[in-house]
Subunit: 306 residues, 2 copies
Amino acid sequence: MTKETADWIAVDWGTSALRLWAMRADGSVLAARESDQGMARLTPDGFEPALLALAAPLLDPGRVTDVVICGMAGARQGWIEAPYAPVPCSPLSQLPVRAPARDGRIAVHVLAGLSQAEPPDVMRGEETQIAGFLAHEPQFDGVLCLPGTHTKWVILRGGCVREFHTVMTGESFALYSEHSVLRHVMEPGWDASAFAAAVGQGRDRPESVATALFAIRARAMLDPAGAALPGVARARLSGLLLGLELAATRSIWQGRAVVVLGAPALCAHYIDALEASDAPAVRFDRDEPARAGLAVAHQRIVKGAA
Amino acid sequence: MTKETADWIAVDWGTSALRLWAMRADGSVLAARESDQGMARLTPDGFEPALLALAAPLLDPGRVTDVVICGMAGARQGWIEAPYAPVPCSPLSQLPVRAPARDGRIAVHVLAGLSQAEPPDVMRGEETQIAGFLAHEPQFDGVLCLPGTHTKWVILRGGCVREFHTVMTGESFALYSEHSVLRHVMEPGWDASAFAAAVGQGRDRPESVATALFAIRARAMLDPAGAALPGVARARLSGLLLGLELAATRSIWQGRAVVVLGAPALCAHYIDALEASDAPAVRFDRDEPARAGLAVAHQRIVKGAA
């Protein structure tokens, strides 16, 4: 009995991590691998060795295996630059770029990101998750929210990305909670009612966030007992920033169907905040959206080559 | 001829720096010294050695010299905790706290900060600058703005601090420009028109700041030529954050006389932003306000002891 090898390989290559799936021809997953060899750690000639470190045992030496990559491997500082496709467009409308590879067993295809001229915006990686979502919901007309370090709000209609907006809420929360004076009061835990109140404040009085941030620290200093309630300061910081995000994106989510796509705990905060804002939202929890989008791209590559 | 020694010693002891003036009885400065031995670097028993490292040569061995200290040396993590005085009150209404000292040549007095119950806020060090300002302008009725890492907006009337508000604009600018994804586009320079436009946006549409931050990065990526204009991204980031601050503090500065007190370059940005908001502001540039406030406190200590 010979060892089973991959029909093709799907890769989600982010700034800080590399995730890889060896796929069978029937769409099932033969093997999943990951490493910490994200784009930020690699120079252009480091991508092929990082890929092969995970993929080599899954390759059939007798043929060329397609490797389809989304994410930061296509950035200017990545393996090879895959230009942005301007919206409105379908999320995988652009032809992938072939990346140079010394190893004859692989043909490497890097997917393009999306760009928007006004207001200026870019994404790289999320377009593939959007394609994965659309593979399940091709008729979806509404807003897709992808929470993360840089949360993306995406208006979809007719299978196309009409417009999108990036908010740095995840990165802002990390900066304030880990690197600012507020880090001194960030106890573990999560107070849901403090979060809800802060979301409402940030959403309805966005300007007040500027003064409310230092007040988190001051309240804890003036009332050490109250501040010791687990997770009040953390939930309040998160809520203020998410409320400000909802104020900034109100014209996008208000009156539209909203689907949230991402890690369950983070999505739950967004769904709570949206529901408290009279915007019922649901989480998309089928499949692995990046992998599903890579499968869509692979199908097109196969058809294009045939 | 004997070496001249200090009549008393004024100390502004911040988080990251220690500034000291040896004062003559006539109010003139015999010597100024500073070091990087701020509160953040010291444990409680490290304060006296750090002080003596600068002050020892200025002390008369034949008598006890008063040392008057404002700032973070009075914090809980400082030399000795000097409690906050609740506003409304005059800025130096509270009696100083005596700090323990082994060296018999010094009597150390640590000034109290100010606190506010609602909205919760604290200051430590700025109250002494306010007292220094009031020594020159005892009848001032209006707003004092002290820009910095944590900018203070202070309503003064009848020699009293009526209320105050802290905004973390300086710290936020440092976090985003040095530690976020925006650091990649922070070229040197300063584009005044980009700053003015961003102030207006942040002030009049504060919610839009949440989406405008990542757009600074995206604009530079999509238009490398335009982004290379020196200082556009930096001025835009600063302007958005300062505009948001003006939106948050509008009820404080609108319709009141505003005096800005602090480092000239930073004050100039605040004055530009306020003037563009129909709020004429002037910079207070007489004397060294912290030292002037410490002199007021010293006078009270001398009278109290007499």
